[in-house]
């Protein structure tokens, strides 16, 4: 069972970096967005998994993404479910549909919650949390 990981100073939840996902997180630290692209059928897929969900091939390459996408849906948290979220509310969680197809769950940087609209164009951004962890985020284009 996965153990929760929290930042020492703030109590902020950190992502659990599963072994299969390590290249994704390594790339984020370099401010690059990469996702697995199937060597057999060419599908770009997310979440990261052991095989291509389309053709079950286990051969894939880490392909750089354009970093461009649109907000397909978003919500605004007003209730803080954990102490580290108290100073953050109201905050946005969005699903960003990449130009390449997959949808990522992220926050939106540099925009007030009231200005967020579904369909708005966004580009990838990076938020450094610790030496090991940089989150993939998005901000308006």
């Amino acid at each position: 069972m996965t153990t929760p990981v929290q930042q020492d100073a703030t109590g902020r939840y950190l992502p659990v970096m599963h072994p299969e996902e390590q290249p994704y997180w390594d790339a984020a630290r370099r401010h690059e967005l990469v996702l697995p692209k199937c060597d057999s059928c060419g599908k770009v897929y997310y979440p990261v998994g052991p095989v291509c969900p389309n053709c079950l091939s286990s051969h894939f390459s880490w392909a750089p993404m354009s970093g461009l996408g649109t907000v397909s849906s978003f919500v605004v948290y007003h209730k803080p479910w954990a102490p580290w979220l108290k100073p953050r509310v109201p905050y946005v969680v969005a699903q960003v549909e990449l130009a390449e197809g997959p949808r990522l769950t992220t926050n939106l940087l540099d925009i007030a919650p009231g200005d967020v609209r579904a369909g708005m164009a966004v580009q990838v951004a990076y938020e450094t949390l610790t030496e090991e962890v940089t989150l993939v985020q998005f901000r308006p284009v």
Partner: protein, 387 residues
């Protein structure tokens, strides 16, 4: 319709139900609530504990082994599942198949709930590889099951128009139903304005769009219809069913086709609904619908999933009292999880049984013959009054 395609039609029944008070029980345990519900169900059916030879539970309540130890019962068929609303109908279906095939004569489904005494399943699941069961992603503050329905509701409103105001009458109607239910936790009537003044939890969900976490115990006794006929109140029959649909196109707390997580975007039109084929009825025969209403938007999804209205029409369908008791299609006559209370949803099935036995007093649906449990994930059971 080819009801004979289902050899189980009408062969299995719920023969007894038990439901404790729903409130906060700080001095009690989930075990004591489960045992109380079990005794209530036995009394309801006029059965002895030794008539029960099967037990099923979901996790995060009373575990099967300690429960059986506590009531001094040995059974020949035990099963425990994982605790989520989407596993309610499957557990009843599983029990029905076990009884139908002779693996048990009487299966008790039991749950005792002490609020968050054991935490929530999602406390663990949100740390899974990929996402949590409702799309949770803790590092981004995407926490709590409400996230899954908030993100899907926004998609619904983007595709079909509308917003929070379209959820108001769902909360108002279910509160009306609860006002007629002495065992409901939230009974004070509310208005659309009350709903719109209720604070945001996760926009587009307000507090009145969210269910409550209370304590309580519930029990259902599943038997063959033949055996159930000899119990105190007879049985409520299972006429048709279909399972939980699952996979990337069936995101939890989302309707099919909304484009949540990796779902495709398309307009869902129901066809080939096995639950009706098995039951030998169609939507127009259904007297009342029961939905696992942890959050108000899922009622929209369930009504469209089963074709009670067309795509995008549910937000109008639920208005003007249509889903309140006394309306054209009462939904969750007890008040549901939104207003009656929450025993992992088992209380919804207690209400179905009581409605079909005509015991519901002021909230009784007149001459109720068919009640359908219907979920946005496709899991469904049509229940019928025993002839």
């Amino acid at each position: 319709m080819a009801a004979d395609a289902n050899p189980m039609r009408g062969q299995v029944a719920i023969a007894g139900v038990g439901l404790t008070e729903l409130k906060s029980f700080p001095d009690r345990t989930s075990l004591s609530l489960a045992v109380e519900a079990f005794k209530l169900a036995l009394d309801d059916a006029g059965l002895a504990k030794t008539d029960v030879d099967g037990l099923m539970c979901l996790a995060y309540g009373t575990d099967y082994d300690r429960f059986l130890e506590a009531v001094g019962l040995n059974v020949r068929y035990a099963y425990q599942g994982w605790s989520h609303g989407r596993f309610l109908a499957p557990m009843i279906q599983h029990a029905a198949m076990a009884v139908y095939h002779g693996l048990a004569d009487c299966i008790a489904i039991v749950h005792g709930r002490r609020g968050r005494a054991f935490g929530q399943p999602v406390d663990i699941e949100m740390w899974r590889q990929g996402l949590g069961p409702h799309g949770e992603s803790p590092a981004y503050g995407a926490v709590a099951p409400a996230y899954g329905v908030a993100i899907s509701a926004r998609r619904y409103f983007e595709l079909y128009g509308g917003g929070s105001e379209d959820l108001a009458e769902i909360a108002v109607s279910l509160r009306h139903n609860a006002s007629l239910n002495p065992n409901a936790l939230r009974r004070d009537p509310i208005t659309v304005a009350d709903h719109q003044a209720s604070p945001w939890i996760i926009d587009p969900l307000r507090r009145l769009d969210c269910c409550q976490n209370n304590d309580g115990g519930a029990c259902l006794l599943i038997m063959s219809a033949d055996r159930a006929r000899d119990t105190l109140k007879g049985g409520v029959q299972l006429l048709g069913m279909q399972g939980v649909h699952a996979g990337p196109e069936y995101h939890n707390f989302a309707h099919v086709g909304l484009g949540v997580a990796q779902q495709s975007v398309f307009t869902y039109h129901p066809d080939n609904l096995r639950v009706y084929q098995q039951a030998g009825i169609d939507q127009s025969d259904v007297d009342s619908v029961t939905v696992y209403d942890a959050f108000s938007p899922v009622i929209l999804y369930a009504l469209e999933r089963f074709g009670f209205c067309g795509p995008g029409e549910a937000r109008d369908f639920v208005k003007k009292g249509r889903i309140a008791v006394g309306g054209e299609l009462p939904v969750n006559t007890s008040g549901g999880l939104l207003s009656e209370g929450h025993v992992v949803g088992w209380n919804l099935f207690v209400e179905i049984v009581r409605q079909l036995r005509g015991e519901c007093g002021a909230r009784q649906v007149p001459d109720a013959r068919f009640i359908q449990f219907a979920s946005f994930l496709g899991d469904s059971i049509v229940f019928g009054r025993q002839p």
